[in-house]
Symmetry: C2
């Protein structure tokens, strides 16, 4: 069960885009007709596009093809084709061939050039990719293309996700109204065969690819790269951003700061949905790091706390174990002054400048850690940079799922 | 229950050294008389000494005092004083004072200069250090000093360890016979309040401190730094090596290679005992990395596999999940060629040069992962360097202990 996940408002259509899905039985022919597992996102005009990919050295075919397409056609992207049920990864040379065939099938059905199509695959690793079952149903996806199909797409990219993830926003810039809609999948790196993180964001705000690419990298660093369920990343992790605005005839935005803020908020919302849906997660914890020498340091410290099994089990056990948190900070590799650190849980000061705070009472700490949502604040006292990380706890349930579950 | 831990032969006395213990009730006065928690190791002559300490940025008083003593008196060390039950850490300024008082009490009882005494503390963090209870019983420890008391010392430094850990070896060099005896404590970084790793090794092999220090660093990198229960390190982790040989009148060894090999084997044996005693560990897994560009790369890759919660839960579930192992390699940060990697479990070839091996059968992999002891071999195909890491699995029991246990 996701932690404290409010019901989502319906996703908004985005001018220029149509979305379709189909059921192929990618994972198993027996699933054909039982669930949608193929998604086609098509733009009527050339999109400017950007992508951010996994940092794992094992990179699936869709990641390698995506980088290639963005290198040559970042201003002419026309479609994304995505399948769930098979990651097309760990398959040697055939992987590259199948990856290309997926793109070609999507391009044919969308009626666009394959050089202008991005792809994403998620699902089991090491199982031959059933390209024929996908090819056989691609036109079904194309036939269902409509502007208001984003929720269906959010469902069709799910693997172990317990709910479909999306978010929309509308912003006003220079008197014009623009829409952003994003869908995502992922429930933590539950299972490398199953738990790729995917995110696709579409907007009609007119922004050039050369601006979008560094922006998406910054945004990913403040959203998807700030979540941690267990610290691992998958072979297929992909975030795509498509902008139809220039193709629709709008002049490129001269000031993109407002848009970047809206995009950041939207990606944080999607990333938090993934944490709330983390396997075995019973608590949603925010780690706020301030006073760092650099934003990278702040993120490293926050991640070190967020991935520590000892910290995560303390969260699970409602144990206000400040020693484990500080030890994780000390293990992060970031240069810190242990006499400068201050640690709070919500508004409760626990540890101040190297000493346990004299007023701190363990029962008050325990009461906060017993909540299903709380914030750990760490002031490193080294500078002005900050970062926020969102994470979950490590429960029995995680072990059950990961030790006993096998696709 | 430790995994596959054979019964240990009695530790051997080491010429020059006497060992004593006492019961202070360090953790709680109620434990006074119930268990030994104070250890004194005294040398009748000046020892050449070396130390390796935690890499955590939070460093307890004993670590800071130990570094200071080794900087000035590495050729005149006369004693180690160690307590269990309280780490004397996370206590601000008083920590330094109490740490010095511990050393002074040990020096008084041993009848040596405090500048020549090393110390180590392990136990709860953040609880005022009960120096008076230790001072009151230090002479009891001194009164019990005998040459054959190493097993008592191995018991007295335990905290959550389920068994006392030691190892002895005798080596013949240039016609002379020398002894090494080491004791250790630690059962994985189970609980930062309780799970410091300590190791003390004594020998009468005559080796100068200037040679011992870099040697101990190399040895630690191939033994204690190659084990992982959950990847965290504590504020108090300490390894000391004391050599009485020169003080006993032996000429320093001209060739120390044989000694270094014996020391490495002894420290590996102690480190493996710690893994076998890891909380919640039900399997003992060896990760052999070969074909790396450097030994550091090999160690980084091995550790990445060993600490991955996904890999560790796969071990627990007897799931021969090669995808998780390769994904952990890809996440290690080390530059790898994914088409050069070969992966085996014991003698079973699973993945070869970027492809699942055509003869690999999942049921054969499962049969190996079902054992309580097996070896994962990774050939990176990048060079000639190698490293071996020893680790355990991640079980329900780990969560139970760490989520529900609190000192």
């Amino acid at each position: 069960m996701p932690v404290n996940q409010p019901e989502l408002s319906p996703p908004l259509p985005v001018p220029g885009f149509r979305v379709g899905t189909a059921s192929c039985g990618v994972k198993s022919p027996a699933l054909k007709g039982k669930r949608q597992d193929l998604t086609l996102i098509v733009s009527d005009v050339d999109c400017h596009a950007a992508g951010v990919f996994t940092r794992n050295r094992f990179r699936a075919a869709c990641v390698r093809w995506g980088e290639k397409t963005l290198a040559s056609h970042a201003e002419q992207v026309r479609a994304i084709v995505a399948n769930a049920g098979n990651a097309n990864a760990g398959l040697g040379e055939m992987e590259t061939v199948w990856g290309k065939q997926l793109i070609e099938a999507g391009a044919d059905a969308a009626g666009v050039d394959a050089a202008c199509v991005l792809s994403a695959s998620t699902g089991v690793i090491g199982t031959p990719f059933p390209i024929e079952r996908i090819q056989a149903n691609m036109f079904e996806a194309a036939d269902s293309l409509t502007a208001d199909n984003w929720e269906a797409a959010a469902n069709a990219i799910r693997t172990t996700d317990t709910f479909a993830k999306w978010s929309s926003a509308q912003i006003e810039i220079d008197g014009n109204s623009y829409t952003l809609t994003g869908i995502a999948k992922g429930s933590g790196m539950i299972h490398p065969n199953m738990a790729t993180m995917l995110g696709f964001v579409a907007t009609d705000a007119p922004i050039a690819a050369a601006v979008l690419q560094p922006m998406l990298k910054r945004v990913a660093n403040r959203s998807f790269n700030c979540i941690s369920v267990d610290g691992d990343t998958s072979t297929n992790d992909t975030l795509y951003l498509l902008s139809s605005g220039i193709g629709l005839g709008h002049a490129p935005l001269s000031d993109t700061a407002l848009f970047e803020q809206a995009l950041t908020n939207l990606c944080i919302e999607l990333a938090q949905q993934i944490v709330r849906d983390g396997e075995g997660v019973s608590k949603f914890v925010t780690i706020e790091v301030t006073g760092a020498a650099s934003e990278a340091d702040a993120r490293t410290v926050g991640r070190a706390v967020a991935v520590s099994p000892l910290v995560k089990t303390a969260f699970a056990g409602s144990d206000a174990n400040w020693g484990r948190i500080l030890s994780a900070v000390g293990n992060s590799g970031v240069a810190i002054d242990t006499n400068a650190i201050t640690l709070s849980a919500d508004d409760l000061l626990m540890f101040e400048k190297g000493n346990l705070h004299p007023d701190y009472r363990d029962d008050e700490g325990m009461a906060i850690f017993a909540n299903d949502e709380f914030t750990i604040s760490l002031d490193l006292g080294m500078g002005d940079a900050s970062a926020t990380i969102w994470t979950g706890d490590l429960t029995h349930e995680y072990i059950v799922i990961n030790a006993e579950y096998r696709t």
